[in-house]
């Protein structure tokens, strides 16, 4: 809990105490667009863009505070109280928050501007902006929240927006299927995540879920290692879902059914990094857990990065190439986290650079799709002539992703490799390097199939409008430039912003940089030599043989889940449960009814023949008595109930008196 005195002393440095406004702005714009969007000139985007634009400027102001070496701030108000648990609504603003704010608002702004063109004429144009704004608010809440329950609210609302936007064109069943798959798969990770939050709240004696308090508790060693390790493993479940790590990665490629700007914003640059952010934010939990926990994180990261990169080889849909690439790159960040504090800085740096070039690549892909009216690279080709701006910006993004010097991806990958090398993670080093090579290969393939050779499609490709190319150019500039923020030669200022006091000293190891450059170049050359004259069928098919089939079938994981988990629950299990309900449980109830009615029939018989027989005789004397008694067996339930009560009362009196 933040004491009143701390709050008072915290209010001070300029705008910083008001950081929460950045998150509230898009929430307000979501409401405005929902209720007034259709009546507004331009149908609503103006609110969203104004809100996130303002938020972007304010985020830069917040970041500036940390660039100047300012300290963090925490503020909160009481939210509610249940028993011992004090819930608060608050903000925790440090360098990490500031960087995340800049990333989220930058990409969100670019995507909202881009969507003016891309989504023009869409039947649910206004609603689209509602969801984008709500998403942005939720993500900003995640990165500013000072406690876990507040974070969880943002976390799940992001998931909802993801579901809504993947299924934006819900007329097609494939889209709504993808939306459901995303929601359910991430929720499978979110349940352990929730239990992880419980465990951490428990570590404070159920008094608070404040992140800083929890971190202090755990760092002080007051909490048992078992509990911390359990909490870390459970929390990581949320990361596996949200950040699409093996084996919960399966939803992300399908999520590409959503409109491309959504893929760029939510399913590449921001929401999917929330899982990585979570690990970084709660790093004390992971560091103080049993050492095997971080190893496990590293193993998951390693499997995911290689496995996903290989799947990117066999995709024809340009967005799916990028989707698998995203999974693979998220695994880079996760692997970074697993390598301790220095790895955390490197991982965040990669999150930062990746956001820009991956958003750029998706928006570039969107521009291509918009123009070629197809997602399939086999129906593209030669587009560099028709779409020069898209081509050049996409090429910059691809090179940045491939890790070409001196673009952004080079620096962040190099930092990860260096950390792996310096901190004794030889296996991860090899996997990271190998994945870098694969990345360069599949991106070269994508660029060549899309932009070089002859056009193989049916349409008349043309360059996209300025509302779309403008964001491309801006993001390309960022993709080229932001890497220098982490360059050791320039002081690696990024690390100082993010972890201002505890920043690890970034080092430059020439041979590592050479190795990563060599890997990138080798990948590019291999890709070039194979795809320089692309013709169906994909030349890789011949080389890879049976492996190609395994990759095309995504290691059969979707089939496995569908066949052995989803369908059995959906049909046999659910139907069996329903059957047991109708036949066994309800059968017993109806059985009791049948038995009761049978007994009633017997009683009635007795009543008619014996009792009523006597009555009829008596009736000769007092003619109406029979009629009175007959009222007893009218079949009226209330009457039976009343009789029952009288009996019960008599019985109770007799029993308790006895």
């Amino acid at each position: 809990m933040v004491g009143a005195s701390e709050i008072a002393s915290a209010v001070g440095p300029g705008f910083l105490p008001w950081t929460w406004v950045i998150a509230v702005l898009p929430l307000a714009s979501a409401a405005l667009i929902l209720f007034f969007g259709k009546r507004t000139p331009g149908k609503g985007p103006v609110y969203g863009i104004a809100a996130v634009g303002t938020g972007w400027v304010l985020s830069l102001v917040v970041l500036w505070h940390f660039v100047q070496g300012g300290g963090p701030l925490e503020r909160s108000v009481a939210w509610f109280q249940v028993g011992p648990l004090h819930m608060e609504l608050g903000e925790l603003v440090d360098g990490l928050t500031a960087v995340m704010l800049v990333v989220v608002t930058s990409i969100s702004l670019a995507v909202q501007v881009y969507s003016l063109g891309y989504m023009k004429g869409d039947a649910r144009y206004t609603w689209f902006y509602v969801a984008l704004s709500l998403f942005t608010a939720a993500m900003l809440n995640v990165v500013t929240a000072n406690n876990l329950f507040q974070l969880l609210v943002g976390w799940e609302v992001m998931g909802l927006c993801s579901y809504l936007l993947i299924g934006h064109w819900w007329e097609e069943k494939v889209n709504s299927n993808a939306a459901i798959k995303a929601f359910i798969t991430t929720r499978i990770g979110d349940v352990p995540f929730l239990f992880g939050i419980f465990a951490l709240t428990f570590a404070t004696g159920f008094t608070t879920s404040n992140i800083r308090v929890i971190a202090e508790r755990i760092s002080s060693g007051e909490v048992s290692t078992m509990l911390v390790a359990a909490a870390a493993l459970l929390l990581f479940g949320g990361t596996m879902g949200k950040s699409a790590q093996f084996p919960l990665h399966v939803w992300l490629p399908d999520a590409m059914q959503g409109p491309t700007p959504v893929s760029a914003l939510i399913h590449a640059a921001t929401m999917v990094t929330a899982g990585v952010y979570l690990v970084g934010r709660l790093f004390d939990v992971f560091v103080h857990a049993n050492a095997h926990v971080l190893q496990y994180v590293g193993v998951i990261g390693g499997i995911t990065m290689l496995g996903a990169a290989l799947l990117a080889f066999v995709q024809d849909d340009i967005k799916r190439v990028l989707a698998y690439s995203t999974i693979s790159q998220l695994a880079y960040m996760v692997a970074g986290m697993s390598m301790g504090p220095a790895g955390r800085t490197a991982g965040f740096f990669h999150l930062f650079t990746h956001a820009f070039f991956k958003a750029l690549l998706f928006l570039g892909a969107g521009s291509v799709i918009h123009s070629a009216h197809s997602n399939n690279m086999s129906e593209m080709g030669g587009l560099r002539k028709n779409m020069p701006v898209t081509f050049w910006t996409f090429a910059i993004g691809a090179a940045a992703l491939a890790g070409v010097f001196p673009l952004a991806g080079f620096w962040s990958k190099d930092e990860l490799l260096t950390v792996a090398q310096e901190n004794g993670h030889p296996v991860l080093f090899v996997v990271l390097l190998g994945t870098a090579l694969l990345t360069a290969f599949y991106m070269t393939r994508a660029v060549w199939m899309t932009f070089f050779g002859e056009y193989r499609g049916q349409g008349h490709p043309h360059e996209s409008p300025v509302s779309m190319t403008g964001p491309l150019v801006a993001l390309a500039a960022a993709s080229a430039g932001v890497g220098f923020l982490g360059a050791p030669q320039l002081g690696a200022v990024f690390g100082k912003w993010v972890f201002y006091q505890e920043a690890e000293k970034a080092v430059f190891v020439p041979w590592v940089a050479l190795a990563s450059t060599a890997a990138a170049l080798f990948g590019i050359l291999a890709g070039y030599s194979l795809y320089k004259r692309y013709r169906e069928p994909d030349p890789l098919r011949a080389y890879a043989g049976a492996v190609y089939g395994v990759l095309e079938n995504k290691y059969y994981m979707d089939d496995f889940y569908m066949r052995w988990i989803i369908r059995p629950i959906q049909y046999p299990v659910a139907v069996a449960v329903n059957w047991s309900n109708q036949r066994i449980l309800d059968g017993a109830v109806n059985g009791v009814a049948v038995v009761t009615r049978a007994s009633a029939w017997v009683v009635n018989l007795f009543d008619q023949r014996v009792v009523d027989g006597a009555v009829n005789e008596a009736a000769e004397i007092t003619g109406e008595t029979g009629g009175v008694l007959r009222a007893l067996q009218t079949g009226n339930v209330q009457w039976y109930a009343a009789l029952l009560f009288i009996g019960v009362v008599v019985a109770a009196v007799l029993i308790t008196r006895a």
């Binding site: 969880l152 069943k173 709504s176 359910i184 629950i569 299990v573």
Partner: protein, 515 residues
């Protein structure tokens, strides 16, 4: 203490009954007057309940307020003892709010075969019974209100229900009465074993104090908890006593379902908190693991059963079983967080599931079918507002954080992480229940999203293309908007409920802990 404070809740509680009598005197032909009177009386009662809520001293939520305690039936020492505390107030206000909204809805939607006068009179009678249950602090009074609810609900289902209404109505009635018998037996046992200044007592507070002083033996508590608990469990309904519920809900007319889900079920869970826990603390401790087990089963079982439902209304009905499972799980932990969560869950379920039944009613009003396969998808194309609201409320029901459905369930799960040690509950066991509950939330998300996919999404079938379906009409908006606002408000400001209940629950547990 002023006369107003003593009489306010009596006025609110019996205003609907007075309304029923007034409506009975209006000629049948004056349809609009009858409907208007329904709105006026439920509205007036709601207004009084709001005034009560405004006058409530939230600083001392554990204290009985607006209390009136007078002699009633001297021969058995039954008293007219009524009042509200932080536990009952949210449910009390919810009762009036939902009844009022139902009366508004009835302005336009009277189910077949009409007979508006009888319909509204029964609804008002029902309202008095439900409200009375939440203010009674005398067991006989409680029991009378409890039973008073049965008769109008029986007729609402039996007369205005759909095809299989008679079976459902009788099943509802007999099953509940069956439970009531045991409950009454339990009450009588408490009475005859109690000794308050030389007299037996039905008074809840006196019984609570008597129990806290160790007045009831352990064996007695176990037996009586079993009896009272059975009666309450059927009402909740807890698995496996729930099978009356899908039938009753499915067959009941729309407002019947709304009140059944919104309020009636809570009488059972409320009874556990109000009566069974404080008067029989030892029994509660021993039964808690079993209650937790049944609750955990209910959550998973109901969610799986929902996956198999083909009838939209039956699906919503089954979902109630799961949601009440979370409520009972919270209670079973015997912790402050758990019981607070239970009350929150009750109110949230009242708003959300009440709203869902309104929606299903309106879908049926358009399509004249409740079969998901016959609706066939694409409702968002034909009825965008109705579809949008359905999606919103479904998402609230699957427990999205930031909406009302979340806090009750998540806090119930949280409390299961660490159940009461004072009560000797096994932590590992309850964590198992927690995991089951977590799995339940995944399946719950699954069946709701699948339902939305089959009802809302896709393209509209040919057969509905030409149909003249009106989208949400004015009366529907008026009766729904308060619920929708409530769903958002409780999600963002959980203090609206927890702030009321927390003090009272802690007070209850102090009593409990002393036993």
């Amino acid at each position: 203490m002023s006369g107003w404070e003593q009489s306010a809740i009596t006025i609110a509680t019996f205003l609907p009954l007075a309304g029923a009598l007034v409506i009975a005197m209006v000629p049948r032909e004056k349809e609009r007057v009858v409907r208007g009177l329904g709105i006026v009386f439920t509205g007036a009662a709601f207004l009084v309940s709001i005034v009560i809520a405004l006058g409530f001293d939230y600083g001392v939520g554990s204290k009985l307020q607006f209390e009136l305690d007078v002699r009633w039936i001297a021969a058995i020492n039954a008293r007219y003892h009524v009042g509200v505390d932080g536990i009952s107030l949210p449910l009390y206000v919810l009762t009036f709010a939902l009844s009022f909204l139902c009366a508004i809805y009835t302005w336009r939607f009277v189910p077949s075969p009409g007979k508006t006068k009888a319909f509204l009179a029964l609804m008002l009678l029902l309202e008095t019974g439900m409200a009375g249950t939440f203010i009674a602090f005398d067991l006989i009074l409680f029991f009378i209100f409890w039973e008073m609810v049965l008769v109008p609900m029986y007729f609402l289902i039996a007369i205005w229900g759909s095809a299989n209404r008679e079976y459902a109505a009788i099943k509802f009635f007999l099953y509940t009465v069956f439970g009531s018998v045991f409950m009454l037996l339990g009450f009588l046992g408490m009475y005859f074993r109690s000794d308050v200044a030389g007299h037996h007592s039905f008074d809840l507070l006196r019984l609570t104090n008597f129990a806290a002083a160790g007045g009831f033996s352990h064996g007695f508590q176990l037996v009586v908890f079993g009896a009272v608990g059975l009666g309450l469990a059927i009402k909740v309904p807890m698995w496996p006593f729930h099978t009356w519920l899908p039938d009753a809900h499915t067959e009941a007319p729309t407002v019947g379902s709304v009140l059944l889900a919104g309020v009636l079920l809570k009488m059972g869970t409320y009874g556990f908190i109000r009566i069974a826990l404080p008067v029989l603390p030892y029994g509660a401790q021993k039964f808690a693991p079993w209650i937790g087990l049944l609750a955990a089963i209910a959550i998973v079982y109901a969610a799986l059963a929902c996956l198999a439902q083909k009838d939209l209304k039956r699906l919503i009905a089954f979902s109630s079983v799961g949601h009440m499972g979370f409520v009972m799980l919270g209670i079973a932990t015997l912790t402050s967080i758990g019981i607070n969560a239970a009350i929150f869950g009750m109110v949230a379920h009242g708003l959300i599931t009440g709203m869902l039944f309104f929606l299903v009613g309106s879908v049926y009003d358009r399509y004249h079918t409740r079969q998901i396969a016959e609706i066939g998808g694409g409702m968002m194309q034909k009825l965008p507002y109705l579809g949008g609201v359905l999606a919103f409320v479904s998402i609230a029901s699957l427990g999205l954080p930031g909406l009302a459905g979340f806090w009750g369930e998540v806090m119930a799960l949280l409390s299961s992480f660490n159940p009461s040690h004072a009560a000797g509950l096994n932590t590992g066991l309850f964590r198992g229940f927690m995991v089951a509950g977590g799995i339940g939330t995944i399946i719950t998300a699954g069946y709701f999203l699948w339902m939305l996919q089959r009802v809302n999404m896709g393209t509209l079938p040919e057969r509905w293309k030409e149909a003249a379906f009106p989208d949400i009409v004015a009366v529907e908006w008026v009766s729904w908007v308060p619920l929708l606002v409530g769903i958002v408000a409780l999600g963002i400001f959980p203090r609206l409920i927890f702030g009321v209940t927390d003090g009272a629950v802690n007070g209850l547990l102090r009593l409990f802990g002393a036993a």
